[in-house]
């Protein structure tokens, strides 16, 4: 049976952070009329059209600049990256190709797609969630890394 890691489980900060992510997606949608899909916003820079670059850079600047704004108020929570460099490179390549091939990631399909009750995004979300669960199972429990 599933055993919950109560000492790691942070429901309130997760919910609060989720609401902030929702507000970000909602403001992008209602102000700019677009879907806040991070892989699409980033990937679109690699085939740029005229007038289509500045806003993408602005969004990414906000995202990358968030830790700098955060530290003005308080210390950053820990970021623990256990994966080694070869694993990070393989993971990055798979995430880059996969999100573009499947037209979205956790933000575009997961948050926005599920919010607009899209079956297509539900199918995508189930695909990457299932692959994520299986991959971690294989790595941690079969290979024991």
């Amino acid at each position: 049976m599933i055993e919950i890691a109560w000492s790691n489980f942070t429901p309130w900060s997760a919910l609060l952070g989720g609401i902030l992510v929702g507000i970000a997606a909602a403001s992008f949608l209602l102000l700019n009329g677009r879907i806040a899909g991070i892989s699409g916003i980033l990937g679109g820079l690699l085939a740029p059209a005229k007038g289509d670059i500045a806003w993408r850079l602005a969004f990414l600047l906000g995202l990358i600049g968030a830790p700098a704004v955060w530290v003005l108020a308080t210390e950053l929570p820990p970021i623990e990256i256990e994966a080694g460099y070869p694993a990070l490179i393989i993971a990055g390549l798979l995430v880059g190709i996969g999100t573009r091939y499947g037209s979205g990631c956790t933000s575009g399909h997961g948050v926005c797609g599920l919010s607009r009750l899209s079956l297509r995004s539900l199918a995508a979300t189930l695909s990457f969630m299932a692959a994520g669960f299986v991959t971690v199972y294989v790595i941690r429990h079969l290979l024991g890394v």
């Binding site: 952070g17 209602l30 995202l63």
Partner: protein, 141 residues
């Protein structure tokens, strides 16, 4: 200008949300994906909170032809579930499970000055570049 400013705002709030929720930390994400270990359900609460707000926003958006700043509403039109969607999702999921990073948290951790996140992001951008090259050569063929 207005469009870029709203984008900057959305990106910033998105990033702050990922930090508050703990999702900028790959170990926390992997704790969610590890259902056979000691499971941390936090990621489901992040998705839940975001979707709670998102459902309302999309209900409002659906009734509009222009955004509140006067831009055209560009909603996805495809509802096709095809091989590309599923295979792309599976590929992404494997990468996600290997490192615990999806695109947003990777970029936030890069902004926090993590070298390993920079390596992940560089490989991710390279992957997106490979996708572009394949798509273009296919379009020519």
């Amino acid at each position: 200008m207005k469009f870029s400013f709203a984008s900057l705002f959305a990106g910033l709030v998105f990033g702050l949300g990922l930090i508050v929720s703990g999702m900028a930390n790959p170990e926390k994400v992997l704790g969610f994906l590890d259902i056979a270990g000691a499971w941390d359900p936090s990621l489901a609460f992040v998705m839940g909170g975001a979707i709670l707000v998102g459902v309302v926003a999309f209900a409002v958006a659906r009734k509009r032809t222009l955004s509140f700043l006067g831009f055209e509403m560009k909603m996805p039109t495809s509802n096709h579930i095809d091989k590309r969607l599923i295979l792309g999702g599976l590929m992404f999921g494997i990468g996600w499970g290997i490192a615990g990073f999806c695109p947003g948290p990777g970029l936030v951790a890069l902004g926090a000055g993590e070298i390993k996140a920079a390596v992940f992001v560089a490989a991710m951008v390279a992957g997106m570049g490979i996708f572009e090259v394949i798509e273009r050569s296919r379009a020519k063929a």
